[in-house]
């Protein structure tokens, strides 16, 4: 039945899609009168040329691992969760409440508490659209988009009217106490003799993100629940026939998805800013879509794609700093990746399938 061998499916198709996206991005840079090769060199230098650059690349990658995993888990149940952005914002609120109002004796306990609250807030924000999808048939894409806007308004309200310290002008919470300061990669790597940049924001959340990747892999491919999620995603009617409850799977998949998106906040809110500011998510929820598509919804793929996007993010910031290419270049690249690896997937796949079919006929 499968026309293509597995390696082509897993490696070749995404690689060609990526190449197309890269060529078009290069053309875009050329069209605005800059040198794409020089731009790429600058990006590699800025993002990977020093531990400082790596620190930022890994910091961004941590965000994208969480949101990428969130989109992936929902994808496996054939649910498109565009609400990662809103769920991550609510996760930020959870982290802020955990850090500000509970006197943690040690950062490790604080981190655990923050993970629980961030996950819970994100999960609740995803559970409402999930419930409406499962029980009332409201389209989850539309409801999660609406919930992104509602989340932004909720956050705005909370920061301006409730959590802002008295006398402060900017809409942000107070600084978190020193006790919940997360160790940075510098602190972690120093005892084993690696001198990692002190200024970079990468922190212990990276390890949490990697653990999350492993756990999601175990969940999806090694548990009964993961099997049910995948079965439901492949064929709703077959899953129903096998006694799998659509309501249960929709709810659980979205709750896990929302919790993962919410947990992103331990990195950007607790690890980096150490207070909750407006627009703390910076679109990471949406980049999760590109990361999940590029990583083919597999945790290993998500891990690699997240690091690539971390590189793009940090490299793009360097470009904006040193050349006249604005930061928005990353948004364009992100759009092209989503377009080619997601929407135009068949454009790459159809001719490849024809080639493999022809090869097979010759072989017989």
């Amino acid at each position: 039945m499968d026309v293509m061998p597995k390696w082509a499916e897993v490696v070749l198709v995404p690689l060609i899609s990526l190449l197309l996206a890269a060529i078009l991005s290069g053309l875009v840079i050329l069209a605005i009168g800059e040198d794409p090769i020089a731009a790429l060199k600058l990006m590699i230098d800025g993002a990977l040329g020093s531990t400082y650059g790596w620190g930022y690349t890994l910091y961004y990658a941590t965000n994208f691992m969480f949101t990428g995993l969130a989109v992936s888990v929902a994808f496996h149940a054939r649910l498109f969760n565009i609400g990662g952005e809103g769920q991550a914002m609510l996760g930020g609120l959870g982290v802020a409440l955990a850090c500000l109002f509970i006197p943690w004796p040690h950062w490790s306990l604080g981190l655990l508490g923050a993970i629980v609250l961030a996950g819970a807030f994100g999960a609740v924000w995803a559970a409402v659209p999930a419930y409406l999808q499962a029980k009332r048939g409201s389209h989850i894409v539309i409801t999660t988009i609406m919930f992104n806007f509602i989340a932004a308004a909720v956050l705005n309200y909370m920061l301006v009217n409730v959590l802002r310290p008295k006398g402060a002008m900017d809409p942000a919470t107070a600084r978190f106490p020193e006790a919940v300061h997360l160790p940075s990669l510098h602190d972690i790597l120093a005892p084993i003799g690696i001198n990692f940049s002190k200024a970079a924001p990468a922190n212990v959340s990276l390890l949490v993100a990697i653990i999350a990747c492993v756990l999601v892999w175990l969940l999806i491919w090694r548990t009964k629940l993961g099997y049910e999620i995948r079965a439901y995603g492949h064929s709703e009617s077959a899953a129903k026939y096998a006694g799998i409850s659509p309501v249960k799977i929709t709810m659980i998949a979205m709750i896990i998805s929302g919790a993962l998106a919410g947990m992103m906040a331990i990195n950007n809110v607790m690890g980096e800013a150490e207070r909750l500011v407006l627009n703390a998510t910076e679109g990471a929820g949406f980049i999760g879509i590109a990361v999940a598509l590029m990583g083919r919804s597999h945790p290993l793929g998500v891990f690699i794609a997240a690091i690539l996007f971390g590189f793009l993010y940090q490299g793009g910031a360097e470009l904006a700093l040193w050349t006249s290419i604005p930061r928005e270049l990353i948004v364009v690249i992100q759009a092209l990746v989503i377009l080619f690896t997601g929407a135009l997937d068949n454009m790459v796949r159809m001719p490849l399938e024809r080639i493999f079919l022809a090869l097979r006929k010759e072989g017989n």
Partner: protein, 326 residues
């Protein structure tokens, strides 16, 4: 609140509802033909940029309008290619288009004008200027002193740009096209049951491309309105979620043209009130969060979608690529 304030708010409602209306009708054509389009926002943004940029370069708003429509049509073509020809995921394609427009507009604006992602501000023939009806008063003080009927005539009916009247005309035209022509019947059929349309010997692909193209044209006009009529020039992210509010209005209107008019005007009213917190406070006697009004369309859409206030049933074949049986 006096009568004139009411008229002023309604006037602002009209101005703010027009881009929503055009985008909503654009989505209506696309979704009635079975193509989901969450890329309305991106198409509007691209059109807003190109119409302002070309109008500023050529000095003619009409050439700008054409450029805006062309940009929007190009993105429609990408959406059609992805979702019709290559049978890809229409939602993912829409997401990609939104980001493409958000990034490219700033990138090109910076490259062409070097003003931090905006175009030079437009004036004179580079804009769609207000059309004053014969005998209408033009200054605020004059209108304020006039009789209520004259106030309605001068402030509410007269003094809008051409595109406002065009957009209002689009509503009956859409209704007529969808419900009174053969093309409209086929277009609605292709969104409900494409196989039946195919059996009748009518091209599903052709009809869907036609619908997506109409969607592109309407989004193009909506975008041009934003940057050349509502405001004088393009600024980064100026569509500001209007494409999504239009999407919300489309669901609210249950995919019907006249109801689209009502829904977009209701949402336009929310936006107008958001700008006048003083009026709300005076009328209901307490302070209302501005953000709450801004968020109301989204909350209402969720409630409608949940089926608590009537059920919104989308076109049956929406979002499904059509595969001809072989």
């Amino acid at each position: 609140m006096d009568f004139f304030t009411l008229i002023q708010i309604l006037d602002a409602t009209v101005r703010l509802a027009i881009p929503l209306l055009l985008a909503c009708l654009a989505g209506l054509f696309s979704e009635r033909a079975g193509i989901f389009d969450i890329g309305l926002e991106g198409k509007m943004l691209a059109a807003a940029f190109f119409s302002a940029a070309i109008a500023s370069m050529t000095g003619s708003v009409w050439i700008g309008l054409l450029a805006g429509i062309a940009a929007s049509l190009f993105l429609s073509g990408v959406h059609g290619l992805a979702s019709i020809t290559f049978r890809g995921n229409q939602l993912i394609s829409g997401v990609a288009i939104n980001f493409l427009a958000a990034g490219m507009t700033v990138l090109i604006a910076q490259s062409w004008f070097s003003q931090g992602g905006r175009t030079p501000s437009l004036s004179g023939a580079e804009r769609f200027n207000p059309i004053n009806f014969p005998g209408a008063l033009t200054t605020t003080n004059e209108v304020k002193a006039a009789s209520p009927l004259m106030q309605v005539y001068s402030e509410l009916l007269s003094g809008h740009s051409l595109l406002v009247y065009v957009a209002l005309l689009t509503v009956p035209m859409t209704w007529w096209l969808l419900y009174r022509t053969r093309f409209g019947l086929r277009l609605r059929a292709v969104g409900e049951n494409p196989a039946a349309v195919d059996t009748a010997g009518v091209s599903v692909v052709g009809l869907r491309y036609a619908a997506v193209a109409i969607c592109g044209i309407l989004c193009g006009i909506a975008g041009a309105y934003l940057s050349t009529a509502l405001q004088a020039g393009f600024v980064k992210d100026m569509s500001a979620g209007r494409g999504f509010i239009a999407l919300a209005a489309l669901i609210f209107a249950k995919w019907r043209p006249w109801h689209a008019l009502y829904a977009t005007f209701l949402f336009g009213l929310f936006q107008a009130l958001e700008l006048r917190p003083d009026v709300i406070e005076a009328v209901i006697g307490m302070k209302v969060q501005g953000q709450f009004l801004g968020t109301l369309p989204y909350i209402m859409t969720v409630v409608i979608l949940a089926g608590f206030v009537g059920k919104a049933i989308p076109p049956r074949a929406g979002g499904e690529p059509y595969v001809k049986e072989r």
